[in-house]
């Protein structure tokens, strides 16, 4: 699968926290050719509870599938890849360093100002112009996609996670009109009592979840009880339906 879709922008990474030698032996014995990494603690950070656990992450860092969705199918991946627009290549030359740095830092205002300023020069050679124009096209599509994403986040129903993502986008796109779009949505959240209620319910759910370690059987039972109470107290909210889904999942395991 990795070979089949890697040109289209898919990267499959095997992640493990086992000993280095063990992993090296495993890779050799199985003839694994896709990237494998050792990352102690990552499984815990992501909250995976069984092996294998798959998480799919979008080009801008959003979790698209969790282990609850099992392994994404080929059809699903194909569809998801349609939205992937690859950052054009940037030749390994020092004249591209300012642009490279701006991209790496997610400093999009700087990306834009650098592109606009440099492309306005008349003494640009053909190669540099081609490279920068490709980056400008990519930048424009990024802005377009981000604007759509902001609209979608504004529709809910997970207003708390939307708030966190919008704040991040606002920071990354500071100085550009999309940052104002994100701010506008956040202001709307702030002035809508129903949305404020949804947000405080989601925050309360986060707190409930953080009180118990679902990996410990003794605490899992308490978590299930706390979730049931939560559902009653916050009935009708998005967080209550999330709590219910989590409770059913925990009860099954």
């Amino acid at each position: 699968m990795h070979d089949k879709f890697s040109d289209a922008g898919l990267v499959i990474i095997g992640v493990s926290d086992e000993a280095e030698q063990k992993l090296a032996d495993h890779i050799e014995a199985k003839g694994i050719r896709y990237p494998v990494v050792r990352a102690p603690g990552a499984m815990g950070d992501y909250g995976g509870r069984f092996y294998p656990s798959y998480f799919t992450v979008s080009p801008d860092g959003e979790i698209l599938t969790t282990p609850d969705d099992r392994m994404p199918s080929e059809e699903w991946l194909k569809k998801a890849l349609e939205s992937v627009v690859l950052i054009p290549e940037l030749p390994d030359e020092s004249r591209y360093d300012p642009l490279r740095k701006a991209w790496e830092k997610n400093d999009y205002a700087k990306v834009e100002s650098h592109l606009t300023r440099t492309l306005a020069k008349d003494n640009l050679d053909d190669e540099e112009r081609t490279v920068l124009e490709a980056h400008q096209a990519y930048f424009n599509s990024l802005i377009e996609r981000t604007s759509k994403q902001i609209q979608k986040l504004g529709e809910g129903p997970d207003y708390w996670n939307a708030t966190k993502r919008l704040e991040k986008l606002q920071k990354e796109f500071k100085g550009l009109p999309v940052a104002d779009e994100a701010e506008g949505v956040l202001d709307r959240f702030d002035s809508d009592d129903q949305i404020k209620k949804e947000i405080s319910a989601s925050r309360a759910l986060e707190k409930v979840q953080s009180r118990f370690d679902a990996n410990k059987i003794s605490q899992r039972k308490k978590l299930v009880e706390a979730l049931a109470q939560f559902e009653e107290k916050f009935a009708g909210t998005h967080a209550a339906s999330e709590a219910s889904a989590l409770r059913l999942r925990l009860a099954q395991e």
Binding site: A24, V37, A39, T56
Partner: protein
């Protein structure tokens, strides 16, 4: 006064680390810095911005 901030932050970090609630769809994937890599893997998840990434948490056993 100033001393209380890092203490509170540490307590929150410890608490969060002990609590592996599964991350949900639509949330931001936290960065992972890789301790060791094979087969031309990048050094961190953040490096893969712009790609569709499938993380396969596996066990050799």
């Amino acid at each position: 006064m100033n001393r209380r901030v890092p203490l509170a932050a540490t307590a929150a970090a410890l608490f969060a680390a002990a609590v592996p609630a599964q991350l949900q769809k639509g949330t931001t994937a936290p960065d992972i810095v890789f301790a060791k890599t094979w087969n031309e893997a990048p050094v961190s998840l953040a490096e893969l911005k712009g790609k569709l990434v499938m993380l396969d948490f596996f066990a050799t056993w």
